[in-house]
Each structure stands twice: as structure tokens, then as C-alpha cells.
């Protein structure tokens, strides 16, 4: 049963992306919106729009009964959740199915299973996907901790089994250090949680964040190669690439094959992403979690492979088989995406939702701008600060960075602050140019004042 009337339960740039994908497939696009979003771009582009509640997300984009009622009232046969909001809510997916509609994503059971860290780790291990090596459960004494560490290899991280919030965490590089630190961690865990149980796992000190895009139709699954997303601030990605230039072909193949194995093992349907930590020195990757939705950074994969991920997820969730086989998915050149947020990068990224006075979009071959802005548009303050993404594709990584600089320089957004100056400063940095960074790189770089210095000079 192919989808004919698609209800989009999201906002911002991803709603625009989904409306356009639906219309290109000949599907009637019904856009949900809050009272604060009546004049957003996706509402203007959609075939039909419906208000689902007041500005606060909890009263609109997170309100399951209001969304289902609006979807029924407008005759929708499917709901696309986008990313964020209810996209990874098993309760929402179940409610959509119970209402007789198609949820554009995996089954509620899959969302639930992969959303639970322990269950996801077990599913990964069962599918032969490497996970961060660690003790199987808690260890009670120093001798057991040493035995585990010798099995999994140093450095190791010692954590309170009961804990959270970083208390009780120690990193030991040798057996001697572990023998000193484990008793400290144990007593700290006892003091903080009343439970001295420890957990030991391999410490990956400056990992890269690498993730694999997969697509599944419930039976078969394919990958669309990997993305490098190590440039992060406060655990939010700011700059993403496809592919990961640090990987050799053999590692890339093993990484992507492991993602497909897990996707097949859970009968995955739709678009999904498996996130890994990559230890560059050891050339080892470890699965950490799966995101069971389309992601913000999906366009770099689309630029690299030519696959329309949003269209494909709509079609497979409507009952179609995957439209491509693995050997038809190829990678060409290199793609980079930067996230434009309504924040002032020179004022510690303070949110700054202005009114767009002028908008000059970046253009040219291999340049894509996914956004929801228009001249005169007042950016609502009620939601997250992502305004859009500038994506570039070129034959080489160097050429892609050059193209990114040209695109960001050509682009003009007046009336609001954006994080474009951050991306220009990153593009000018020798370490970024060399691809020499990891997940712990950007925050110290910002604290060292690199942005201010380069911003002033520019």
C-alpha cells in the first residue's frame, strides 16, 4: 500500500525537506504546525497545512493525540516524524499504527530495542558488531578489575556501576595505575551511590565519531557509506563529512558491513544510522548506539552517493522493497555539511532569533542549502536554533573545503546572527584542513580563542 497522503509531524528545515520529497513522489503533503509556525516555509510549500496546538512543543509537536487527530481529520495515510520531537518515541509509533496509519520509520519494537543502550549493545554483539570492550556487568574488587583490564587492554576507564554524572570515573594506563585508582573509584562510588560496584571498559581517549547510514525494507538492508562527525560542541555536531578520510578501504568495508549486519538482524525498515567511536591509533571501531530516524546530516550522504534517503524511506515504509542493491550504491568525491544556527558565535553561542531582512542563498554546482528561511521571516524563539545546513560536494576533500568557503562567503543572511563565522574559521584552520581532529578537539579550540582571533581578522 503505497503512501498517498503524508502528514509531516515536524517543523523547520527537515519539514521542508520531507514536503519536497513527498511532492516529488506525487504524494499529497500535509504539514502540521504550531500556532507559532503558521508562516513557516514548509506550511507554504505543502499541499495542505493544519494547526496542532500552541507554540510550546509539549502542546504541539510532542502532543500525540493532537497529531493523530489532525492526521485523521486531514485524511492522512502516513506520518513522517522527521528528527527530534517524537521521531524515536515507541509510544508514538505504536499510537500511529494503532490508528491505522503508517509510521515512516521502523517498528515501535525496533525503536524501543535500539533506544535502550543495554539492549542495543546486546543486539550489536549478537550480530557480530564490535562494541566497546568491557566487563560483562559489574566487578566487585580490584583483582577482578585487573583481570578484566588485562583481557580488554589498556587504557581502561573505571566507572561506578551504579553511577552517572562522571563521579567515580578514573582512567588507568597500566596495571599499577589501576591498582592505585580502582580502590579510589570504589570508595568514591560507595560514598556517592552507596554501592561500590565498578564497571571497567576500554578507554578511547580521543575518539572520532563515525557513523554509517543504512536503509532497510524490513527484510533486506544496505549501507550508504559512512560519515565523519567528530567536530562537536556540547555533544552537538557542527560540521559533518562523507566519507571519513581517516579510514582505509578495508576498515571502511568492515565498518559498513557490520552496520548492515545489525540492520538485517533487527529487520530494520526505513533510514537509520549506527554510531561508532573510532580509535584512530588502533584502527578499531566500536558501536555505541543506533538512531532510528533520518538525521540532520543525511544530505552529505546523499551528495556522496546520489541516493535520495528521504524518498527511499517513504517508499519502503509504504511497503516497497529497497529500490537499489548494495553494488549500485557508489561513493563519488567528498561532501561536507555545516549547521547554521541562530546563535552568536562570538557571545558564547547565545541564541539570537532575529527577523531575516535579506537572504542571499549560496549557489553553484555541488552546493546545496537546506533551510526554512525567507526574507521577512521572524525566527520563532520556541524551538531549537538550527536554521539550515550548507552542504558542498567536490571531487576531493580539499576542493570541498574551498567550495564551502566560497559558498559561506557568497551567502548573506541579515537580521539574525548565525554560526557561519565559526565555519569560516574552522575551514581556515590547518588542523581541520588536514582532517586532524576528534570529538574532544573543538571545545578546547574554542576556549583557546581561535574563533575570536580569526573572526576579527576576517
Amino acid at each position: 500500500m503505497a503512501i498517498q497522503r503524508l502528514f509531516i509531524a515536524n517543523r523547520g528545515e527537515i519539514a521542508v525537506r520531507i514536503v519536497r520529497a513527498a511532492q516529488a513522489l506525487g504524494i499529497h503533503a500535509i504539514q502540521a504546525h504550531s500556532e507559532a509556525d503558521t508562516d513557516m516555509l514548509a506550511v507554504k510549500l505543502a499541499d495542505e497545512a493544519v494547526c496542532i496546538g500552541p507554540a510550546p512543543s509539549k502542546d504541539s509537536y510532542l502532543k500525540i493525540d493532537a497529531i493523530l487527530k489532525a492526521a485523521k481529520d486531514t485524511g492522512a495515510d502516513a506520518i513522517h516524524p522527521g528528527y527530534g520531537f517524537l521521531s524515536e518515541s515507541p509510544a508514538f509509533a505504536r499510537a500511529v499504527e494503532a490508528a491505522g496509519l503508517i509510521f515512516v520509520g521502523p517498528s515501535a519494537d525496533t525503536i524501543e530495542r535500539m533506544g535502550d543502550k543495554v539492549a542495543a549493545r546486546q543486539a550489536a554483539e549478537a550480530a557480530g558488531v564490535p562494541v566497546v570492550p568491557g566487563s560483562d556487568g559489574r566487578v566487585e574488587d580490584v583483582a577482578s578489575a585487573v583481570a578484566v583490564a588485562e583481557r580488554i587492554g589498556f587504557p581502561v576507564m573505571i566507572k561506578a556501576a551504579a553511577g552517572g554524572g562522571g563521579r567515580g570515573i578514573r582512567v588507568a594506563k597500566t596495571v599499577e595505575e589501576l591498582k592505585t585508582l580502582a580502590p579510589q573509584a570504589k570508595s568514591e562510588a560507595e560514598a556517592a551511590f552507596g554501592d561500590g560496584g565498578l564497571y571497567v571498559e576500554r578507554a578511547i581517549l580521543s575518539p572520532r565519531h563515525i557513523e554509517v547510514q543504512i536503509l532497510g525494507d524490513g527484510e533486506n538492508a544496505v549501507h550508504c557509506y559512512e560519515r565523519e562527525c567528530s567536530l562537536q560542541r556540547r555533544r552537538q555536531k557542527v560540521w559533518e563529512e562523507a566519507g571519513a578520510a581517516c579510514l582505509d578501504d578495508e576498515t571502511r568495508e568492515a565498518l559498513c558491513a557490520s552496520a548492515v549486519a545489525l540492520a538485517k538482524a533487527v529487520n530494520y525498515r526505513g533510514a537509520g544510522t549506527l554510531e561508532y567511536l573510532y580509535d584512530e591509533a588502533a584502527n578499531q571501531f566500536f558501536f555505541i548506539e543506533m538512531n532510528t530516524r533520518i538525521q540532520v546530516e543525511h544530505p552529505v550522504t546523499e551528495m556522496l552517493t546520489g541516493v535520495d534517503l528521504v524518498a527511499e524511506m517513504i517508499q519502503v515504509c509504504g511497503g516497497a522493497k529497497l529500490s537499489m542493491t548494495q553494488d549500485q550504491i557508489t561513493r563519488t568525491g567528498h561532501a561536507i555539511e555545516v549547521r547554521l544556527c541562530a546563535e552568536d558565535p562570538f557571545m558564547n553561542f547565545m541564541p539570537w532569533p532575529g527577523q531575516v531582512k535579506t537572504l542571499k542563498e549560496p549557489t553553484g554546482e555541488g552546493v546545496r542549502f537546506d533551510h526554512f528561511l525567507s526574507e521577512g521571516y521572524q525566527i520563532p524563539p520556541f524551538y531549537d536554533s538550527l536554521l539550515g545546513k550548507v552542504i558542498v560536494h567536490a571531487e576531493t576533500r580539499d576542493a570541498a573545503i574551498d567550495k564551502l568557503v566560497t559558498a559561506l562567503t557568497e551567502m548573506e543572511i541579515e537580521g539574525t546572527k548565525t554560526t557561519a563565522p565559526l565555519h569560516l574559521a574552522l575551514a581556515a584552520d590547518p588542523a581541520v584542513r588536514a582532517g586532524d581532529f576528534h570529538t574532544q578537539w573543538l571545545e578546547p579550540w574554542l576556549e583557546a580563542g581561535n574563533l575570536t582571533a580569526k573572526g576579527d581578522a576576517a
Binding site: 507554540a55 541562530a342 547565545m350 524563539p381
Partner: protein, 77 residues
């Protein structure tokens, strides 16, 4: 009389959290830099502080209500 304006668009709160009392009540002394309320803007909370000293009269918008930049959120005398 002096007005305290919201520096940003967002949602204005009288309290640090639903369990806490309002930052100021009628008759409270207000010093320069005192926190009067919070603005939630794009999932970030930003303090609204007094730029002049005085005595607190009243909040001029309801708790948890939307405001735009420049809206008067409280009054001092």
C-alpha cells in the same frame, strides 16, 4: 518608575523552576544585577537582570508567557 524589558524574544518565567518562589515580589528591594526572571530562548535559559536599582512593583506579563524583545516584563519604582 522604571521598566525592565526583555532583551530577547522567548518565553518569560518568574521562577527558576516550578517549585521555586518568584525571583521578586512586590516591595522587594532590587539592586543592579539582580535576577528578575528567565527568558527561555531556543531551549536555552537566559537571566533577565535589573539595570537600575529600586523597589519591585509587579511582573507585567504572566509566568511562562511568550514575549518579544523589548517587551516590558516587570516594573520597579
Amino acid at each position: 518608575m522604571s521598566d525592565i524589558q526583555s532583551p530577547l524574544p522567548g518565553t518569560f518565567y518568574h521562577q527558576a523552576s516550578p517549585e521555586e518562589p518568584p525571583f521578586k515580589s512586590e516591595g522587594d528591594d532590587v539592586a543592579v544585577g539582580d535576577v528578575i526572571g528567565l527568558i527561555e530562548v531556543m531551549k536555552t535559559f537566559i537571566q533577565v537582570t535589573a539595570e537600575t536599582s529600586g523597589v519591585f512593583v509587579a511582573y507585567k506579563v504572566d509566568n511562562a508567557s511568550p514575549v518579544t524583545a523589548g517587551d516590558v516584563v516587570a516594573e520597579l519604582k
